[in-house]
């Protein structure tokens, strides 16, 4: 390749990504840096800020409330992310099997519908569904002879209940991604496997899942980020209750910044969130991504 051509290539590439880079840099990077810098300052009564070095980091990272929030968040993640990924995969596989394209589109659209509702509206509707007295869920359980559950008002059930709302909201979106990827797998692979005598399960394990690996990793990463950062669902319903059982790191961050007026502490939490997500994403990328032989 002639060097002039390469140079033109490099310049062109840079120019193509420049608008996006400038935009993100301007809109997010500068506020992000200001926020990170803010994590080294504390606000004193009167509104002035005082440089305190890493004191706030020590304070936040040794605060049991903070770690309880982290624990709640991890618990929510563990409940939402695998369920979302597996369910989305299952639904996509099921949809893929349907012979009629019309049926497939119709059902797929229904799965995608929750995505069209704002998270706040969805959370409020779900809260009503979960209501221990008037909610339709307990009503249905009663018809099956099961005693009513407290759902969002129960210490044990509040996190699974919220996780369910998140799964519901995201399922369709991930299903679409998987469905599209499934449709791109050439049929010859399965025919060859069938000739070799492989059953449906083996074909799934040996062909489908490995070929879907990039999408599975991408979806897992996106879901992890989404569920970690989710705010509207909790804020509109439990506000972190009962007794802090549903207080996630983001809820605590919001309260710390805006209800307790401790912007420095909140910035520390933001740095923690960003760092954790980056770490976990990179780990996921490294550990689970596999190069696939086509």
């Amino acid at each position: 390749m002639p060097p002039a051509y390469l140079k033109r290539q490099r310049r062109a590439g840079l120019l193509f990504v420049l608008p996006a880079v400038i935009y993100f840099g301007g809109v997010f990077l500068v506020p992000l840096l200001e926020s990170v810098i803010g994590s080294f300052y504390r606000t004193v009564p009167g509104g002035a800020t005082q440089f305190v070095g890493t004191r706030l980091y020590v304070k936040v990272l040794t605060d049991p409330t903070f770690w309880q929030a982290v624990g709640n968040t991890v618990s929510l993640l563990v409940m939402s992310v695998p369920v979302t990924v597996v369910l989305a995969l299952a639904v996509a596989l099921g949809l893929h099997r349907l012979r009629s394209l019309k049926a497939r589109s119709a059902w797929a659209a229904m799965y995608f519908l929750p995505f069209s509702v704002s998270l706040v509206a969805a959370a409020l509707v779900w809260q009503w569904i979960y209501d221990p007295v008037y909610g339709v869920l307990n009503h249905a359980l009663a018809a099956l002879g099961v005693p009513p559950l407290k759902w969002l008002q129960s210490l044990d059930l509040v996190r699974p209940s919220l996780a369910l709302v998140n799964v519901w909201a995201r399922l369709g979106f991930d299903t679409m991604i998987f469905l599209a990827a499934l449709q791109a797998i050439p049929a010859e692979y399965y025919e060859a496997a069938a000739i070799d005598g492989a059953g449906a399960w083996r074909a799934l394990r040996r062909i489908t899942l490995p070929l879907l690996n990039p999408q599975i990793v991408m979806v897992a990463i996106l879901e992890l980020i989404f569920n970690f950062k989710v705010f509207d669902t909790v804020y509109a319903t439990t506000q972190g209750g009962p007794a802090g059982a549903s207080q996630t790191v983001i809820m605590l961050l919001y309260d710390t910044a805006f209800k307790y007026f401790r912007l420095g502490d909140a910035s520390v939490m933001a740095v923690f969130v960003f760092g954790s997500l980056l770490l976990v994403t990179l780990l996921q990328w490294r550990l689970f991504r596999r190069q696939v032989e086509y």
Binding site: F16, L18, S35, L124, I129, A184, Y190
Partner: protein, 284 residues
Amino acid sequence: MAALPAPGRVLKPARLGWLTAALVAAGALCVVFPLFWMAVTSLKTVPEIQRLPLHVFPARWSNLDNYREVFQRQPFGRFLLNSALVASVAALSSAVVSSLAGYGFAKFRFPGHAVLFFGIIGILMVPFQSVVVPLYLWINRLGLLDTYPGILAPDLVSVFGVFLMRQAIEVVPSDYVDAARIDGAGELGIFCRVILPAVKPAIATLVIVKFMWTWNELFWPLVVVNSPTMKVVTLGLVSFTNMYFIEYNLVTAAAVVSVLPILAVFLAGQKWIVRGVVMSGLKG
């Protein structure tokens, strides 16, 4: 463009076809149920909503009182217009800038491309609550508070869009691009005439997803909008909840009103979505 396999080719054997179809259908109905519940609640009066034993269906299917009140209390029509404007502009600008960036990342090797790409993905990992005050102060300094550009500021380009377009463009055979170069086409010309037509479905997907996402945004508009005439639909919706209680009859009606336009957009472009996500799914 890679040839798509014929639709309807299924995994052999198809003995469990009926069971699968039934499960898929049941799942779909479960997923849609909360939305159905939302719609049905919006047609009920307050006593109906809170009566025991529970009645699923409203007493009068033609009871539009809640909808009337939603529009009476606030200029909800104006909110719809504002949301439509903001979401459209955000979707279009995302499509343009994300496509450009996606092309740059997919087909070019330049120093720092990995850092820049992961840097952009990293934006997703930043909690918005922690940048909202600095961002607001900047928008304030620029005099863009309570204006459309102000509301649009954090929404003009989508990280997911860059991701999606990069995946989609990666799959376009480089031969086409090289051929065009040999013919003497300029880079921008190649982008417009070779790349974009090849990834139309992905662009359509991005436009629709970004439109929906921006339409449903709450926190940023809450902070940056003051005038009632500049409010967006989500702000209108949240005004039916307050410090003391939630007016479920009005919230659900407002939610239905805010979902209908998106549904229209979605159903119109649904065909494009299914084909569009295909592109992003190939070879991650």
